[in-house]
Amino acid sequence: MTTAMLKVDNLVTHYGAIQALNDVSLEVSQGEIVTLVGSNGAGKTTLLMSICGDPLPTSGTVRFDGKEVQGLPTSQIMRSGLSVVPEGRRIFTGMTVEENLSMGGYYRSKVEIAESTEHVLTLFPRLKERFNQRGGTMSGGEQQMLAIARALMSRPRLLLLDEPSLGLAPIIIAQIFEIIQKLREEQGTTIFLVEQNAHKALSIADRGYVLEHGRVVLSDTGQALLANDEVRRAYLGG
């Protein structure tokens, strides 16, 4: 039996008195693209962020490479080989592309940062043109690319993405999904993708989970979920 790279067991997270996650269990194995779909407010972002320890889960375990990480400080969890592209991108708008990228590789050496910068600029040539421009002055698509590039600066083995397609033009969305697949193929990066755009996400995913009201209600291969009647009705518009 192979151990999963990311294994979440019986995770419960509260926001004050409100329970946002209810006994969620899932796993992501090395080299997989796994997606989590669900409607607005189902708890997708909460799940992703609970893995990072922000917010702290109330109970349950999160294992990364077999080691329990729940309860550790967020900055320590994020140094163990995973990166996140959070909801709303959250790039540092007052800082240049170069500065944003250097923050992504914060705990690595100068040489490694230079190497990673070169690597992400070949993935996103657009950022090369904008290298000394402030993040806040770029278009939404460019900002999303910067958020992904920044997350890649630490050479993560697991990349967590929260709605990377939100609010972007279809052509940019297509590019971003292409890059996600390319990352897995060329770098072997494992991907955990949270999406409202269920059709797109499920069609590139090996496996998927469906979250409803803070619970996992379905899990199957991406293709099977795409063909599933319930999923089609609820998330794919018929």
């Binding site: 900055s75 994020m78 540092f92 708008t93 250097s102 923050m103 992504g104 914060y106 705990y107 630490s154």
Partner: protein, 306 residues
């Protein structure tokens, strides 16, 4: 000839005091930028640094050392170390435990810390003024007609040291890893955490940097006035806070601009009206800016998040 020279003298005096306000104001503005609180104990850090500088200068002088440069450098180094250590400890003891709770709680904790530090120096050094002699006397005189403009060597040192400190800070903030992390934290601390940045360490360093600049101000202003007592931190702190708000709290260039403006405004008040009105003008300015432009001269209006 007399009137413009008199005016020039007031501006020189104003920029001298203003430079030191700016140095102290940076500590307020950086801490506000990163954790959104007003560190009301910051004035006390400045006061402690002034005492330390005095003690070092007096001690070394008693040992027979009379090189002004050596005295100043030694006093500066020790004052920076002691002030930074105090600021580091204050953050750990009084602010970190209440971080994340309501703003009012952090504010009360800061005021408590301010009172504590003032009394701690009062116990250690007594309430009476301590004075040191002028170790850098003299200056340049430019006379025209009846009036002579004096630019003392001490004033030149104040401008030069302030300028060097600002340039070092600017280089640190824009180039160094930690300086950039400070900026990242002040924009989105949660995100900085998600990138593996130890934000607690960044916050501690912000306090240390602010304290180091306050220590520079403590030495300079201490030498300029020649006296210290445990209460000087209160007024200096309020003035620097005013300067920070005037320039736009959270903005470093704003703090510098605010400090210089405030210093000049005070000197002109003192020169043309009466020095008794200095504080009236300073805090009058604070009230006006809070009423009509609360985000300051260089700040950006903040949208209150609901």
């Amino acid at each position: 000839m007399e009137a413009p020279l008199y005016f020039l003298q007031q501006v020189i005096n104003g920029l001298t005091i203003g430079s030191t306000y700016a140095l102290i104001a940076i500590g307020y503005t950086m801490v506000y930028g990163i954790i959104g609180m007003i560190n009301f104990a910051h004035g006390e850090i400045y006061m402690i640094a002034t005492y330390v500088a005095f003690i070092v200068i007096a001690g070394l002088s008693m040992m027979g050392i009379d090189s002004t440069i050596f005295l100043m450098v030694a006093a500066l180094i020790v004052a920076i170390i002691v002030a930074s250590a105090h600021a580091f400890a204050v953050e750990r003891v009084a602010y970190r435990p209440v971080r994340g709770s309501k703003r009012l709680i952090a504010l009360i904790s800061a005021i408590g810390m301010s009172i504590f530090l003032q009394n701690y120096m009062l116990l250690a050094q007594g309430s009476r003024d301590k004075a040191i002699g002028n170790i850098l006397p003299g200056g340049w005189h430019f006379s025209g007609g009846d009036f002579t403009v004096v630019l003392s060597y001490m004033q030149v040192i104040i401008f030069a040291v302030t300028l060097i400190s600002m340039l070092l800070l600017a280089a640190f903030i824009s180039r160094s890893k930690l300086g950039r992390a400070c900026r990242a934290c002040s924009q989105d601390r949660g995100m900085a955490n998600l990138l593996g940045i130890n934000t607690d360490l960044v916050i501690s360093m912000t306090f240390v940097i602010g304290a180091a600049l306050a220590a520079v101000a403590g030495l300079l202003l201490g030498m300029y006035y020649g006296v210290v007592n445990p209460y000087i931190g209160f007024l200096a702190g309020l003035k620097a806070f005013t300067a920070a708000v005037l320039g736009g709290i959270g903005s470093i260039p704003g703090a510098v601009l605010g400090g210089l403006l405030l210093g000049v405004a005070e000197a002109l008040t003192g020169g043309y009206l009466s020095t008794e009105y200095n504080d009236v003008v300073s805090f009058g300015l604070l009230i006006l800016i809070l009423l009509f432009r609360p985000w300051g001269i260089l700040g950006k209006p903040e949208v209150e998040k609901i």
